[in-house]
Symmetry: C2
Subunit: 345 residues, 2 copies
């Protein structure tokens, strides 16, 4: 297993250290190559993602990223030049974001039900395509456009992936989230594709919700969701909300995946670089560890993935959430749990 | 005061009846003209918004709408052909949506703070412009586009309105919500306009949040918001979420406003036609009543507006939320409270 690791900025390197500690327990022979992409490199060299580095990344089985971003970098530079560029160059069309309320974790909701959903967010199209511009900038007649691009090819592949995932889950339920009553063109394409693919999955029940209604149900009735499939921007919004109701982005893992496996997929915690707490050794590495589980699942190492998830679940159920421990302490605990499972399980 | 009233479909007519009952207590001389726009008229005649009706609507001081929509009408028809058309034809650029957690109302949040915010949602641009299309429909090479249009003119007028509202509030805080790190063109325009207008409002503190982060804070820390200004689509999503955390869209009122007063503004409850409970007399008319308060505020009848709001607040603080009463019962109660305030206050 050849892994490229991008620790990144802020708490990125701190949580990655623990994630690799846990990975070492299940795949001791993993070959790790580190890449110093992120704010620091951009400041030092002006480089975001040199072609040579991109070429090297392609030679790996998967990529693990901590977080990139720093207040010293103008907004949009690292996002469009590095994070989104990786998603587009490596054709990460399935942006996978599970949201589960683990026993022991406090939800901001008063009366949370069981929550266990997976959001399949499209990753390479929609309003994220970078298609748009400014006309007559800095005049009273300025116009700014952003074009959402949606293709049959692009929508179908994520919808197929979402149905396949729904088929493999217990509840076999899929919800399309869009805004078909206003974004009628893109909405029409998404609806037709879901309808067509559903014919091949009579085992999966299908629902539709407008994105505004979905945010309501995400706080009043999140237990209804099993698999959600949605576009890039709606997915961005809904997954942060789903993370919030399941205890915060501190626990949310994600995969940016080329499910055809032509390119390496990239796995990362959703929390970002959190510069306010960086360097203090107090960041929770759990989301990074769960990202390793997603990575292993993607590479077919399902048993190792389950072992990591079970260890995280056990730790969350038993930890003192007021003082969960330092970053390395949580990492040590999770690594020990994973390794003891190795022996006993 | 000449008011056009569009009761609409589903529970629309039921809640409008109560709203007018309450209005009658403060403006007994209001002249009311009813228009039968909505699903029923579309089914009967194929008409959505005839030019003649639009012309008549323009002759009024304001419009009060119940709700339009029915499952029997294909998605998008009434939305684009009637609701959005009204917003565009009447230049309803300020879509005003207050969200307040009234004492006595149960939030789905475990530990809700005081919540009292106003979202100023842009109403005539952005992804709602209807600019987009389908190419190669029903082929494997289909492309669907949706273009978000943002103009200096359009953004500036809502940003100015939002700053003016913030200036008049106690906390004087304004949050711009966008996704500037991904939608860099539109994001740049919105950010620059907020920065420029803020120079004329040194009394207002300004914050920025990405829309995904805003959904998190809407459930973990909604008390932080005072005035939010945002684009049409983000506003659609955020206001439903804000309504949810403050007790549900059953209580949410909204104004679609041309703040220049060249065209009549339109006020409506956010809840929609709720066909599942229509005709049973159990819909809560509170949001429709609060919409009347927004209408009166817009027409300068501030004292009447405050009286209605105070009556609603009193009723919500004292009602039995398990069985709040029938639609007409709640309307009677609110009307009585408003009228008693007239005598005592
Ligand atoms: C950082 C940003 C570009 C990114 C996105 O919008 O996709 C982030 O919010 C995420 O969800 O991974
Ligand atoms: C019905 C629909 C067109 C509308 C919107 O998207 O604006 C509604 O959701 C709202 O928020 O008023």
């Amino acid at each position: 297993m050849r892994l490229a690791v991008i620790p990144g900025d802020g708490i990125g390197p701190e949580v990655i250290a623990e994630a690799l500690k846990v990975l070492g327990e299940v795949v001791p022979a993993a070959e790790i190559t580190r890449y110093d992409l992120g704010a620091a490199r951009w400041h030092a060299t002006g480089e975001l993602l040199p072609e040579s580095v991109l070429g090297e990344l392609r030679q790996h089985d998967a990529i693990l990223l901590g977080a990139v971003g720093d207040p010293s970098v103008p907004s949009g530079i690292l996002e469009r030049g590095l994070l989104l560029r990786l998603r587009f160059e490596l054709d990460h069309h399935v942006n996978l974001r599970p949201a589960r309320l683990y026993p022991g974790v406090r939800s901001p909701l008063a009366d949370p039900p069981e929550i266990d959903m997976v959001v399949v967010r499209e990753g390479t199209e929609g309003p994220y395509a970078g298609n748009g511009g400014l006309l007559r900038k800095d005049t009273p007649h300025e116009i700014a456009t952003e074009v959402s691009l949606n293709t049959s090819f692009g929508v179908e592949r994520v919808v197929r992936d979402a149905f396949a995932r729904a088929s493999n889950r217990q509840r076999r339920h899929l919800t399309l989230v869009h805004k078909t009553n206003v974004l009628t063109h893109a909405g029409s394409l998404w609806s037709r594709v879901v309808e067509e693919v559903s014919l091949q999955h009579p085992d999966v029940t299908v629902a539709y919700q407008h994105v505004d209604a979905a945010t309501i149900h995400m706080v009043t009735d999140p237990g209804r969701y099993d698999v959600i499939v949605t576009d890039n921007l709606f997915g961005d919004i809904l997954t942060d909300l789903a993370a919030a109701v399941t205890g915060g982005i501190g626990l949310a893992a994600s995969g940016n995946m080329d499910v055809t496996r032509r390119n390496p997929s990239m796995f990362e915690p959703v929390h970002g670089s959190a510069p306010d707490i960086a360097g203090q050794g107090i960041a929770d590495p759990t989301a990074a560890v769960l990202s390793v589980a997603l990575l292993l699942d993607h590479l077919g190492e399902h048993e190792s993935a389950r072992r990591i998830e079970a260890s995280v679940a056990f730790d969350l159920a038993t930890r003192d959430h007021q003082s969960p421990g330092a970053t390395y302490g949580i990492g040590d605990r999770l690594a020990a749990l994973v390794s003891s499972n190795v022996r006993t399980g």
